[in-house]
Symmetry: C2
Subunit: 429 residues, 2 copies
């Protein structure tokens, strides 16, 4: 089936470049982009048209790192140091997901919040619970979000009696979970929490599993000083990244969240292996981890994507994460004595959209042949400007000002999944 | 008339201290706070009661620095350096306020946005236009916002042909404006834009006026490196603060926005004279001005308040400014090699409420005898927590998560001015 979306089109085909088509047409063929046009081609004139009028049609967002079971503690404990925050809030909150009813309620709400805010692709940490992880995958699929979800592995330094698993349990449950995953659109990803949480045996067995089943891997790397010291004590002869590498987890497409303090050698190892950085600006600020040198990473050719990292991050909407990324890059500029350039809006938007969507095999921007992932934005409520604005100016302003109520429609995997602010859930799931 | 507000009460009577009363009662006598009670006194049982149920009743916000005529450019031009941003957007936008119809529409919207987000007191820059400034004052009064508004003075380094005034015009128009101000609740404040924009003669005449009429003064100080260099070129023998001091503008209650780069001598001069710092965290980040050492200022005993500083700041709601302040203090901690403490939520909330309200003569927190300035917040839409939360935890989470739709009621100067999200405008204005 062919159809047309009409509106002001904005996308980011490469880092720092925004392409806009005022009053343009986006033609879909079975949900896949057939072309973007300033004038509608004659042979498309009869097609059904979603006329979005003066609204903005922009790429949807990819959230490449977040902890679903930390959603209940969003915005909480922000005054606590990392280790207290983990023991007071995080592990106790994650432990609640042994309760499948609580998991169902919470994940349904999380999935709806994500899609209503225009996040259509995710790479997500679950808790260590198999049933809750399946529920999370179902709830994401139900609202049309695609991507990867991982049951967390953590067989050391957990919270005894509250949240823990043995090495055998961790491996057995991971296999049970993998064998029970059925979705075509929300797939499993191996998820060792991070080196301090995983024994050598567990890491190695996960490495074997990644290799045997061709699975992607996600974890954390070089987030904060205290964590890095702990890894050094546990593995005195290795760099942090080598603890993953020796277990076979340092693979092409391995996602590593944070990398705030990665040195030149670690950054080089990422680039050489095709490891993907997930920069989590708000989380790094909230937890006082440091300010990631994203500009440097981009200059070195690393693949950098963005994550909300709830609940270290207190902002679930990726448009807020994008402006937090710009703000963090400006703090980095000050930290560098005004000698590094901040990230422009076009650059940060690219990182929060195209750079993430490419992880799932998509092309650049609204690429021909890709299933449509898009957000439709109504900016008519914003302040009346002093002069007429270009589409690009309207878009850039919207990144700073938009809230959930301004997102009217969302398209994911070629389908309209939010219409006039309401989620169109797949009732079959 | 006596009446009662019932709900979960939160206020900040001193820096770092939050007081909460779960299911408490706040008794008003002609709009003034008569007391806060855990149990309603017997002689109040018959009084009319605003039963806010499980909602949170907290102090409203004081925005101590913002540029009303920059509201139309909120969130715009954030990728431009300061001087380009001023000439491309700011001065051209301010120039539009020669049009009183445009001013009426824009300021009506701004006033409604402010009050719906719980900002009940302001110190605000207008443009140089007298009529638009009166309109701004009327529109604030109409929705129940109180405070100070200033016609801007700027007789040099403006934008010729677009936005400029001569020294004589500036003084004559200031007198005309002052003589036409009628409101008891929105009062005039003298507003030399900043030293680079004001000739010596203008500054001195404004100093005389401040003295003669007992007017407060607001301006900018030590915001960014380029501006400080410019002031040094203009006044080679003076420190920045001395350019105000020699004109008689460095007075008790003079408000100075930013002070990012104020040295020990300048900070000392503020403390000695009773000059009030307005810290504008989001603006400082967006414009890459630097990261203000707020903790140091507090330790030195300076009076620090908060401002949204739209449109250098891109966030009008003060709850967002408060979390931006916390985040900036964490960036400052990183900048200080993790050797300075960040601001806690209790501290930042105090700066955004009590520290500002005191400028207008109010006491500490919900002080007995003060006219009520309060926000009523419905947090029932926030994620279901993993365990029951205390009122303080709910409040702290709300600071990070709240949006306009969660503010149900607002009280200003002892009156309910927003009810169920709708502005109760004074039709007589």
């Amino acid at each position: 089936m062919r159809e047309v979306l009409k509106g002001n089109i904005v996308h980011a085909p490469s880092l720092g470049v925004l392409e806009t088509v005022e009053n343009g047409y986006l033609v879909l063929d079975d949900g896949k982009i057939a072309g973007i046009y300033k004038e509608l081609p004659a042979d498309c004139a009869h097609l059904p048209c979603h006329d979005y009028g003066d609204r903005i049609i922009m790429q949807s967002f990819a959230d490449m790192h977040l902890h679903a079971p930390q959603y209940p503690m969003l915005g909480m404990g922000m005054d606590l140091p990392l280790m207290d925050w983990l023991s007071t809030y995080t592990f106790r909150t994650e432990a609640r997901f042994a309760d499948t009813e609580y998991a169902r309620r919470t994940y349904r709400r999380l999935a709806e919040e994500l899609i209503r805010n225009g996040t259509t692709r995710v790479c997500m940490f679950s808790s260590l619970h198999v049933e809750a992880t399946w529920i999370l995958m179902e709830e994401l699929e139900r609202v049309g979000i695609t991507g990867y979800v991982g049951k967390v592995n953590m067989d050391r330094n957990a919270l005894p009696g509250v949240l823990e698993e043995t090495t055998e349990e961790s491996l057995r449950e991971t296999l049970r979970w993998l064998d029970g995953c059925r979705s075509e659109t929300v797939k499993p990803i191996l998820t060792p929490r991070f080196t301090p949480s995983c024994s050598d045996v567990l890491m190695e067995q996960l490495g074997v599993l990644a290799q045997e089943r061709g699975l992607y891997v996600q974890s954390h790397l070089s987030e904060s000083a205290g964590e890095i010291e702990l890894v050094q004590r546990l593995h005195p002869s290795l760099s942090y990244w080598q603890t993953y590498e020796k277990s076979g987890l340092w693979r092409d497409h391995t996602l590593m969240a944070h990398c705030v303090h990665s040195d030149a050698q670690e950054r080089r190892a990422m680039k050489d292996r095709g490891v993907v950085v997930v920069h989590c600006a708000d989380s790094n600020v909230n937890i006082c981890s440091g300010v990631c040198p994203v500009r440097l990473m981009l200059d070195e050719g690393l693949w950098v994507t963005l994550g909300s990292d709830i609940a270290g991050g207190a902002q679930l909407p990726m448009y807020q994460v994008i402006t937090a990324t710009i703000r963090a890059s400006k703090a980095r500029r000050v930290l560098d004595g005004w000698n590094s350039d901040f990230l422009t809006e076009a650059e940060a938007y690219y990182l929060g959209t195209t750079a993430g969507h490419r992880y799932f095999g998509a092309g650049n921007g609204f690429a021909v042949g890709d299933a449509l992932h898009a957000v439709v934005l109504d900016d008519s409520e914003f302040p009346e400007p002093a002069r007429e604005l270009s589409v690009q100016e309207r878009f850039e302003r919207a990144l700073y000002l938009m809230q959930r109520r301004h997102v009217t429609d969302v398209w994911s995997q070629g389908k309209c999944v939010v219409k006039n602010g309401a989620v169109i859930a797949n009732a079959a799931i």
